[in-house]
Amino acid sequence: MSGQATRGAPWWLALAIALTAAAGLCLLMPEPGSFDDGTVPWAWRLALLAVLGLAGWSVQRVAALDGRRWHGTATAALFGLWVLYVWQVGVTLFDVPRVLLPAPSWIAGMLVDRWDTLAADFVQTVGKSVLIGWALGSGLGFAVGVAIDRAPFLQRGLLPLASLTSTVPLVAVAPIMVMWFGFEWPSKAAVVVLMTFFPMLISTLAGLQAAGKLELELMHSYAAGYGRTLRDLRLPMAMPFIFSALKVNATLALIGAIVAEFFGSPTVGLGFRISTEAARMNVGLVWAAIVVAAVTGSLAYALLVQLERKVAFWHPSVRSR
């Protein structure tokens, strides 16, 4: 496989991009439904096939590149662009019903047209439920983890139960939380707290055990007390564990808040928007809300990765990246 790797000469990359642009201009010309009997002429079909071939070829060539760090990212980006492009062209050419698969351009248009609705949804779901629930749940999990670190009895009792919760669909507590805390964001935040607490607890406890015997004995020989050892050795050693829980929790928190809104919510919020607009077949807005949620999740993840690099820059798992 490594034999395919080529050196330099990205002239064909420019060619591929130029061809893409040209083909794109041509293919985007017909209006949706402009072929009156609904059949697509052979010329268009052949052109689409050619574009597909071009896409496959260019992605393959970029993937065969070796050496630079950005080559991997470029491959993924090119592939993503091609998917969007073929999606757009295919939907337009074959006049796919919007309910089935709306064109990317339409989704983008929806994002622009209804940005005030979506911004309000974002503030409601992410700004209130997710952020507060995530911070509270993760913070509580961390605090309890540190607190019971010195009590092996409690740990042995709590850990099996905490790991059992990963097999329990915790999202299902949403209707109870709605009953207790009402329709507004506190009930969603409560679901999120419950979902994020246990992963953080398990990770914190595992992380606190991560310090090696040698280091612990070194701290002991320095006459460092429990608090000093915790602060200077064990908490820093636990950071990669804590960050992996924070990253998992970021996704869990979004899922929890969105699903909890399916069970009753004020007339605002990403989950509310997705479920009501899907029921009204207003698919464009649903996809726009999904895009907002996806971008939020990815951004949160990327932010946490950056933060981890700042905090745990010395750790092998971070340095190897």
Binding site: G157, V286, A293, G297, S298
Partner: protein, 296 residues
């Protein structure tokens, strides 16, 4: 920290029992605290006679629509719904659990197949590895369940309803962990082992069957446990926007519509049991397969 070996069952049993007892105690206490106001307003005051604290506690543990039902109320409701109705009655929770389990299992099987095939393709193709894998990993940061309603709409307008859409969502949640773990597992063999296969003139297929797949099994099974737990959540959530008549998710939704608190709690307990049972089944399968492999 001095000892990292797994504690024995006996060392484990007592702490777990103590923690469980504490949870039960908190639950009963919470039921008193949370239900007291309702009990006084709806039951004790209208009766007109004076009441002592014992009566108050007893009332809070036997409310018809409590804020927090007491554990024995949930248990009684569970037992009633499990044993007092025939298995195919919609009032039997096992029936709903079976409906949810059906879509979970179908989705799980399809998702695992898809995940394994994708992983095999990714391991053998540099192009797919670079173009597809980053998107699969990135999609894990996306709240996948947000897509559930739209999948239901799409499949519904294509004429699929009933089991298929729910299984599709469970499948969607199942295949990510399987793909990621399988890619890691299929790449686990050491270079020297792959080179040995090469010197035997083994074809790619033979290398896959004899070397890569067996070495991937220890990676596969933990991801299967994650996948089936995710599949249960997916199947339950998929029952919400479809207006499904049966299934644990539908049961939760009807419970929250009619304010049937005890019903919600017993559906919740049932879904927890279902999750545990399915994960346990996968774990048992894992032990069976890996034990046979270690003997050979």
């Amino acid at each position: 920290m001095t000892r990292r070996t797994a504690p024995t069952l006996r060392e484990q049993a007592l702490p777990v029992a103590v923690v469980l007892a504490a949870v039960l105690l908190l639950w009963y206490g919470g039921a008193v605290g949370l239900n007291a106001q309702g009990a006084i307003e709806r039951v004790l005051t209208p009766r007109g006679t004076a009441y002592g604290w014992q009566e108050l506690v007893a009332t809070t543990w036997a409310m018809e629509r409590p804020v927090l039902p007491a554990p024995h109320q949930v248990l009684a409701d569970l037992r009633e719904s499990l044993f007092d109705f025939p298995l195919d009655s919609p009032r039997n929770l096992l029936y709903h659990a079976a409906v949810t389990a059906q879509s979970t299992l179908l989705g799980f099987v399809l998702g695992t197949l898809l995940g394994v095939v994708l992983a095999a393709a990714i391991v053998h193709s540099r192009t797919l590895d670079r173009a597809l894998l980053p998107w699969i990993v990135a999609s894990q940061t996306v709240p996948v369940l947000a897509i559930a309603p739209i999948v239901l709409v799409i499949l519904g307008s294509l004429g699929f309803s009933g089991l298929a859409p729910k299984a599709a969502i469970a499948m969607y949640l199942c295949f990510f962990p399987v793909t990621v773990a399988m890619v890691q597992g299929l790449r686990a063999p050491q270079r020297i082992e792959t080179e040995l296969m090469h010197t035997y003139a083994a074809s790619r297929l033979q290398a896959f069957w004899l070397l890569r797949l067996p070495s991937a099994l220890p990676y596969l099974f933990p991801s299967l446990r994650v996948a089936i737990a995710a599949g249960v959540v997916g199947a339950m959530v998929a029952e919400l926007p479809t207006g499904a008549q049966a299934g644990l998710g539908a049961r939760l939704l009807t419970g929250s519509y009619y304010g049937n608190t005890v019903g919600i709690w017993s559906a919740l307990v049932m879904s927890a049991l279902l999750g545990l049972a399915l994960t346990g089944a996968v774990a048992a399968l894992e032990r069976l397969v890996l034990a046979r492999r270690n003997q050979a």
